[in-house]
């Protein structure tokens, strides 16, 4: 991805999560365990990094014809990811489902120059998998917090591998 395509005056700031009542200057996490995110906030994860810099804002879902093809790790930045498959007996679905323009400057020096906040949704057997991103644009999930994956599909598959027969929590991922 050419970082220079991302300097369109949009922001590096993610859409404020519904469960964060604090200003951006507040502590990153706020008071422990005090708030329950809206269900929608669980299903939708705002990303800071541009997946489709330069497309002008409308995403056309693209089906991966062969998600198992080697080299998929070098994701084409123009192709927003969308998938739905059975993997080890589990129904995994996901994709970048929206593009949320925001205001601000792209930050230089980040591989996935953050210019537009995208929203990704991944589910395993219908339950939301909370997904985050790293500065290089790769993805992490709440199931695999200590390694990242180039695509959402690989993130979902790795989560299934880690879960075994377990189901994702039906409740929110951020509260006790």
């Amino acid at each position: 991805m050419d970082p220079t395509t991302a300097t369109d005056g949009t922001t590096a700031t993610a859409v404020p999560p519904a469960d964060t009542p604090h200003s951006p200057d507040a502590t990153p996490a706020g008071a422990p365990g005090r708030h329950r995110p809206a269900r929608r906030a669980v299903l939708r994860t705002a990303f800071t990094a541009a997946v489709v810099a330069g497309t002008g804002g409308v995403l056309a879902p693209v089906l991966f014809k062969d998600p198992g093809t080697p080299g998929r790790g070098e994701r084409r930045s123009q192709a927003p990811e969308r998938f739905s498959e059975r993997y080890r007996g589990r129904d995994i679905r996901g994709g970048v489902s929206g593009l949320v323009p925001a205001g601000g400057q792209a930050r230089p020096g980040e591989a996935a120059a953050a210019s537009t906040a995208t929203v990704a949704e991944v589910t395993i057997d219908g339950r939301p998998l909370h997904v985050m991103r790293r500065a290089d644009g790769s993805y992490l999930s709440e199931v695999n917090h200590y390694e990242s994956f180039p695509t959402l599909l690989e993130t979902a598959r790795a989560a299934v591998d880690e879960l075994g027969t377990a189901q994702l929590s039906a409740t929110t991922p951020h509260t006790i």
């Binding site: 990153p28 422990p32 953050a114 500065a135 199931v143 880690e162 991922p173």
Partner: protein, 286 residues
């Protein structure tokens, strides 16, 4: 001043007292507050919020303070208890005494990966996961991830990190290719290196330890005590090296306001890295 011991050298009584204190924190609800705190401070480097705990130079001092808080909580239950460390380069098999019935219990069983041995087995009635990543109420482990095998880091891999004379380096995040901090924190960097040391241990244990609620597994504390010890060893190996960055990034630097320089107070304790560089008046490793 107290000692943190290698877990392999604990007596049966010491193990029993440590387990007892952990179970009491769990019973009182204090334990789950620690789990929640760790989860809340998991901020990635794609986010513009401050990130004191992971993918960041303050990975070591933040976790040092976090462990001290946990240890203090343990000591309110039993003043003689300290957090031992697990040297996973040495005790690197599922047969290690760490995983025995009288200590942390063993691997999860096939299928649901439920830990069914030791004091943290669900059936014992004292270890109910309240807000894990899954619906399950039991502790999960999956040693070595048989579906895509992972090995524990070796002494050579740790030594390579210890040999780096610089604490941390730009871009001060998970993509720092040099510097002791990310060599130990262990973020995989495409084309540079795979998942390493600290991160790989979380991966090797798997289950609860691999995910967002990793402190649900009590081995978390023993793992991080060893990470803490490695920081001390690195300081001794490089006596003139310093914590970096020593001052906040300049205006316009993408990391400004997101990382913690030497004297920046870290939430939630308002503790500066500079206050956590030397633990010798609090505890020592033996």
């Amino acid at each position: 001043m107290y000692s943190r011991k290698n877990q392999r050298n604990l007596t049966r009584t010491e193990k029993k007292r440590l387990v007892g204190a952990i179970l009491e924190l769990k019973r009182s609800g204090r334990y789950d507050e620690f789990v929640s705190l760790h989860r809340q401070y998991y901020v990635t480097d794609a986010e513009s919020r401050p990130r004191p705990a992971h993918m960041t130079p303050s990975f070591f001092p933040w976790h040092r303070r976090y462990l001290l808080e946990f240890e203090k909580a343990l000591q309110t239950v039993d003043s003689g208890v300290t957090v031992p460390y697990w040297d996973w380069t040495q005790d690197n098999t599922p047969a290690a005494s760490l995983w025995a019935e009288d200590f942390l219990g063993g691997n999860g069983r096939a299928g649901d990966r439920q830990v069914v041995t030791g004091p943290f087995a669900y059936a014992e009635g004292n270890w109910r996961i309240r807000a894990g990543v899954t619906d399950d109420r039991f502790l999960r482990r999956d040693f070595g991830r048989p579906s895509a095998p992972v090995t524990l880091p070796t002494k050579a891999e740790v030594d390579r990190a210890l040999g780096d004379p610089v604490y941390d380096a730009a871009p001060w995040n998970s993509l720092s290719t040099t510097g002791f901090r990310n060599r130990i924190e262990g973020w995989g960097i495409r084309g540079v290196r795979g998942v390493g040391n600290h991160n790989r241990v979380h991966r090797w244990i798997g289950g609860s330890m691999a995910g967002a609620a990793s402190p649900d597994d009590p081995v978390f504390w023993l793992h991080h005590a060893y990470i803490d010890l490695l920081w001390t060893r690195w300081q001794k190996a490089h006596p003139r090296a310093r914590y970096l960055p020593d001052r906040a990034p300049a205006a316009g630097d993408p990391q400004r306001g997101r990382i913690f320089a030497l004297d920046d107070p870290m939430p939630p304790w308002d503790a500066k890295p500079s206050q956590l560089l030397d633990h010798s008046r609090l505890y020592r490793y033996v």
